[in-house]
Amino acid sequence: MAERSVEQVPVLVVGGGPAGMAAARAARRGGARVVLVEAGDDLGGQYWRRLPAERQPAGEDLKHPRFRRMRDDLLRDAGCEVVLGGHVWSVDRRDGAPPLVHVLVGVPDGNARQPRAFEPAALVLATGAHERTLPFPGWDLPGVFTAGAAQALAKGERVAVGRRVLVAGSGPFLLPVASSVVRTGARVVGVVEAAGRAQLARGWGSRPWRLLPALAKGGELAGYVRDLAAYRIPYRTGAAVVAAHGTDRVEAVTVARLTPGWAPVPGSARRVAVDAVCVGHGFVPRAELATSAGCALGVDGSVAVDAGQRTSVPGVLTAGEVAGIGGVDLALAEGEIAGSVAAGRIPPPSAVHSRDVFREFADRLAAAHEIRPGWQSWVDDHTIVCRCEDVTAGELRSVAALTGSRGLRSLKLTTRAGLGICQGRTCGRSVEEILGPAGLVDAGRTARRPLAVPVRLGEIATAAGEDVG
């Protein structure tokens, strides 16, 4: 095996969504050479997802002029190398410095991809977030998707997930999902939000004048609300999908009213015929690289940052959803700050102001839609919680009781929850909440992944390159 050369780079940005793009551009403006690594085959991340180049209509880019400008700037800039199809699979933690970053360049889940290793002077992690979907009986039936899947398939493929679609869960994300789905020609029979009016008011309603700056910037939200009216999509609060029914695919769901604590109200259950249901309950930061690099996390699992978007590891910064769920405007502001600081510059005051405004907005949303523990009462013993290993809630509860262990490491290995190929991304938080009402030793462990993405054994053998005989 030949020794791989390590590429020294002033600023390495991982993640080519809004935050990463903003960071790369700001670092370039700050005079630093930048390498931007993105796992997908185009920039834009989840938020700016669009049809692939081979299928693009002329009008597509008009929808997001800001994105088009940023993208063009970065791709045309000789001082910014954009690595598409770049999968960061592991980082070697360093004390008091950014880690070594190991990348495989090629198609997702390929073999024999090209290895590259970077030693950044400054590392900006903009790895985003993924959805959290609370389990319910029947949620593993084909036809049950995350809310994000419906949008990704609609925006990226023009594929409709079904003909009679219900959108459910919690959070403002349900609205753009409904809009995307309805634009594929499917009928959206309703949007069902778990937070009740009181919970929503607590977030959205208190001191509403402080939301004005954020709302004025984004007419976006208003657009989604208009779609609900235009397409006659009922929006219901304080309710949830508590079961999905069908043999080989979903054919109907049960929707029930929820108490303020999110427990189903007895007698309120109603059956709704659907052929697809899209469910999302907020987002989980994709913090595994930050964790492997040694960065401290906040209480919600996001990466802890200071006013300059710096993490607890010198030289490592972070921006966007991974630093705290907050939407695209916050991501852009944070990215600009992180990129500036990474290049050794003072962040622009406009970005700082923007970040503060949208951070407040985001915190309100979090309060308005935060998951409440009553959800566990709609999870019966037969409900699958870990989808990769088909571990049910009953098995989790039973094994925890039989072993009496409060250690998450032990519980994972005795239940197999979180050990499958997704390594706890889908089930981790739900497993921890079901297992540990009394508090678990090593809580948060399900989010620790030294391998950030599955890698072929042959690629591991050649990627790090050291000849060990």
Partner: protein, 114 residues
């Protein structure tokens, strides 16, 4: 396929093979997009034999796995189809493995919806 309000530009066709049968898709489509557009909601069995297909659509849940050109554990929602790709269904139920198998055609397709 559903009518497209934004009318994508016509893309050229790609032809792939799915479980031995030729299937046409559009250039740029992912394998999951081709399978879903063809009316298939599930194509894999989980550890205890439950039908699975796309769940998260963004590559984090690893449910939509297929075998592509002999390589297992490929996320169909992340892999763009290339002319000549040979896609086979991947089964992960443990009973299959005892037979040394791991590839088979699932029954129960899910209804036509697209």
């Amino acid at each position: 396929m559903m009518p497209d309000p934004i009318a994508p530009a016509t893309a050229r066709t790609v032809r792939i093979e799915v479980a031995g049968e030729p299937v046409d898709g559009l250039a740029g489509q992912t394998i999951a997009g081709i399978l879903l557009a063809g009316g298939r909601l599930s194509w894999r069995r989980s550890r205890t034999g439950r039908p699975r297909g796309v769940f998260c659509g963004i590559g984090v849940c690893f449910e939509c796995l297929v075998v592509v050109n002999g390589l297992r554990d490929v996320r169909a929602c992340q892999r763009r189809a290339v002319d000549g790709d040979r896609v086979e269904y991947q089964q992960d139920d443990v009973a299959e493995h005892a037979n040394g198998q791991g590839l088979s055609i699932p029954d129960g397709q899910g209804g036509d919806h697209g």
